[in-house]
């Protein structure tokens, strides 16, 4: 798994590449926490090159969403969610907790 962070005026774009499972999810959680600690609560997660995500990754997303939405200071949105991952998120009832966008431009423009 590889994470890159790009800062925009109104939000941060966090790109996750590769596979997120119980081994790599702590790294994702750390990256999201680091953004929050830096005062960034408006986050776009780009999943274009994400190959796989287990419930360990969902857990990291949920924790971040909770923290970002606190005091209405922001939110986590998802962009380019691959079909298989979208299906798993749906099964877990997560799609109603996150706005999803078909491309990063629209997602970034949301903020």
């Amino acid at each position: 798994m590889e994470i890159t962070v790009q800062e925009f005026k109104h939000c941060d774009l966090i790109t996750i590449k590769g596979r997120v499972d119980s081994a790599t999810a702590p790294q994702l959680a750390q990256a999201l926490e680091a953004a929050n600690e830096g005062g960034k609560y408006k986050l776009v997660i780009d999943m274009k090159d994400l190959e796989y995500m287990s419930s360990a990754g969902f857990r990291a997303l949920l924790a971040a969403q909770r923290n970002c939405k606190k005091y209405n200071r922001g939110e986590v949105v998802l962009a380019n969610v691959p079909e298989r991952i979208r299906e798993a998120l749906e099964l877990a009832g997560f799609t109603e907790l996150f706005k999803t966008f078909d491309d990063t431009l629209t997602a970034v423009g949301h903020f």
Partner: protein, 134 residues
């Protein structure tokens, strides 16, 4: 196939079950779901059955016969019956949402059957998952 019960080996476990499923003619979507269910099962064993134990092992065997894939995971840790874990409330709002039990819920939804057998006298727990070709 025997694996060290560590999260670092989840990649190999997914690859192993994925190869067998692919050779057995399952679709890419089914293969992803079989890999996800196997990952969730193995993650639970590593996290719960082997809680605090760093040298545990996990035996994974799988086969496809007549369009039915059987995956068997054997561990020698503490008994942990997934059927005793309550189904998470998937309609709860963000603040109420619990993540515990989600992996097991996914396992049950993605596979056709999930069975668990604890044999404390043999120090052996067996999780069997079955998936039929769609």
């Amino acid at each position: 196939m025997r694996f060290a019960a560590k999260f670092e080996f989840l990649d190999e476990i997914r690859e192993f079950v994925g190869e067998v499923a692919r050779a057995g003619g399952f679709s890419e979507r089914e293969i992803y779901n079989i890999q996800l269910a196997s990952d969730e099962a193995a993650s639970n064993i590593i996290e719960h059955a082997y809680a605090g134990i760093s040298n545990g092992t996990l035996e994974v065997s799988c086969e496809v016969k007549n369009g039915v894939m059987t995956i068997i995971l054997v561990d020698h840790g503490a008994p942990f019956d997934p059927s005793e874990i309550p189904t998470p409330d998937l309609t709860a709002d963000l603040s109420e949402r619990k993540i515990g039990g989600l992996g097991i819920y996914l396992m049950r939804k993605l596979m056709d059957e999930v069975h668990y057998k604890a044999e404390p006298e043999k120090n052996r727990n067996t999780l069997t998952m079955i998936k039929r070709k769609g």
